[in-house]
Amino acid sequence: MSRPEIEVRGLHKSFGANEVLRGIDLEIGQGEVVCVIGPSGSGKSTLLRCVNLLEEPSGGQVFVGGTEVTDEDVDIDAVRRRIGMVFQQFNLFPHLSVTENLTLPQRRVLGRDKAAAARIAAENLARVGLTEKAGAYPSSLSGGQQQRVAIARALAMGPEVMLFDEPTSALDPELVGDVLAVMRGLAQEGMTMMVVTHEMTFAREVADRVVFMDGGVIVEEGRPGQVIGAPRHERTRHFLSRLLDPAMAEVEEETSDQVGKGDA
């Protein structure tokens, strides 16, 4: 593996007095699939959003494909063309048809001509299995279909890296599988992926590495079998037990989270 595709060094992020990220160091190699897990409020989505600068870091550096994203003079629009992003709420453009959702960014941002954009749009719709929905509008699609269109839209830009921000959290349970299948296929094709998720089965089977975050720091990381199967830290064990068997969780005082956020 040559230079890492994504490199995060000493990343800090505060919203006012609330310090959400407190020193993150992370490297993701080319073709690697990394799942970021952790309780809500642990800063995992913020970390992801710092990678394409949707959030401005308060300190530290982020490199993508060797370019420093956090450099003040960087052409951020050019960097973002190389980074695809998929959101929890899909964020399709509701005034455009599915095909137009895929072609408009290609034409306006990449300057592709009409024919090329349409061809690439059709290829990517086929890739997510939604060729027959090409002319539909987002509001007529199910959540799972919308999310697959959103993935296709990002892929049509030809990104080197894909970021997924809880891509299945807004979906009805029976629709999760289709989206995960698309992501699994993408991983097998060798796409570099950073995935914030609660889908432990997906993380265990698809991820090369799992990162567990809590209280704005990386608590533990390693192979999925190790982090999910045999976690070394108490906080990881605690989180996983609550996630894997929510019915068995006990009502507890707000301690572990609050201590992590309150002190330091």
Partner: protein, 277 residues
């Protein structure tokens, strides 16, 4: 029948809510009916008809009231609306800018032009500006002046409407566009503004109705015979014929346009209500 109802009302205790409601409704109808009857009896119908509904005078107004007056009213309104929309868009974007002085300037503009009577703006554009800057000519003559005066006034209102529409587009839309590599300006033009306009189509159409009526202020600019719009045309004819029929006809011509427009707005509003559900 109706006055016995009215007498019963204060005395009788122990009515059910439904009975009270029926009674109160009955009294309201009675009062309305009484007013209509009183008007019908006291009004001098011959005189009224003579003054407002003389068929030969009305006939004499056609086709000029349509081909000249209504045409000019529409022309003034549309040109003012176009100027207002373009200017309002610019002001709205300035208001939302991250650059402080732009926001400040847009705020001042909106406050000034929303706070002044439209008539004052018309006098300002039509009289004060030519006097203050002799030699400068507003292109298009009266048409240009009206477009600018109406545009200046409506831009202030439309800027606030457009700003609200842009802010009503979910934040995720801008984030999605930026993450695809759109610059802020491109995202605004291709993604945000088209969605904002769907949201504000009803209030913008309302603004068009308001402008349609405000175009009557052309009256105060001093226009040639060919430049007269509905109000001026109606008033001129009313004074030459010493009769009010032209005013009535001109009024009906306004309603010919505003009533269907309001209907369209209501349809759009109920449609967008459905879309939200």
């Amino acid at each position: 029948m109706t006055d016995t109802d009215a007498k019963l009302q204060p005395k009788k205790k122990g009515l059910t809510r439904r009975q009270k409601r029926t009674l109160s409704r009955g009294v309201q109808y009675a009062v309305f009916l009484a007013a209509v009857i009183a008007f019908a009896v006291t009004a001098d119908w011959d005189r009224l008809q003579n003054q407002f509904a003389q068929a030969d005078i009305a006939k004499q107004m056609f086709p000029d009231v349509i081909t000249l007056a209504l045409k000019n009213t529409v022309l003034y309104t549309v040109s003012g609306f176009v100027v207002g929309l373009v200017l309002g868009m610019v002001v709205a974007l300035m208001r939302l800018s991250s650059v402080g002085p732009y926001r400040w300037l847009a705020g001042v503009y909106i406050e000034i032009f929303r706070g002044l009577p439209a008539l004052l703006i018309f006098i300002f554009v039509g009289v004060a500006v030519p006097l203050a800057f002799p030699g400068t000519e507003i292109p298009g003559g009266t048409y240009g002046k009206v477009a600018i005066a109406l545009g200046l006034v409506s831009a202030a209102y439309m800027a606030e409407t457009i700003r609200a529409g842009i802010q009503a587009v979910p934040k995720g839309q801008m984030e999605a566009a930026r993450s695809l590599g759109f610059s802020p300006a491109k995202a605004m033009v291709s993604i945000i503004v088209p969605q904002a306009f769907r949201i504000i189509l009803p209030p913008l159409t309302n603004e068009l109705v308001l402008l349609f009526k405000d175009s009557s202020l052309v009256l105060f600019l001093g226009v040639t015979l060919e430049e007269r719009e509905l109000s001026k045309y109606g008033r001129d004819l009313a004074s030459t014929t010493a009769n009010s029929t032209p005013i009535l006809v001109a009024g009906l011509c306004y309603l010919l346009v505003t009533v269907p427009l309001s209907f369209v707005v209501r349809r759009m509003e109920s449609k967008s209500q459905e879309a939200i559900r």
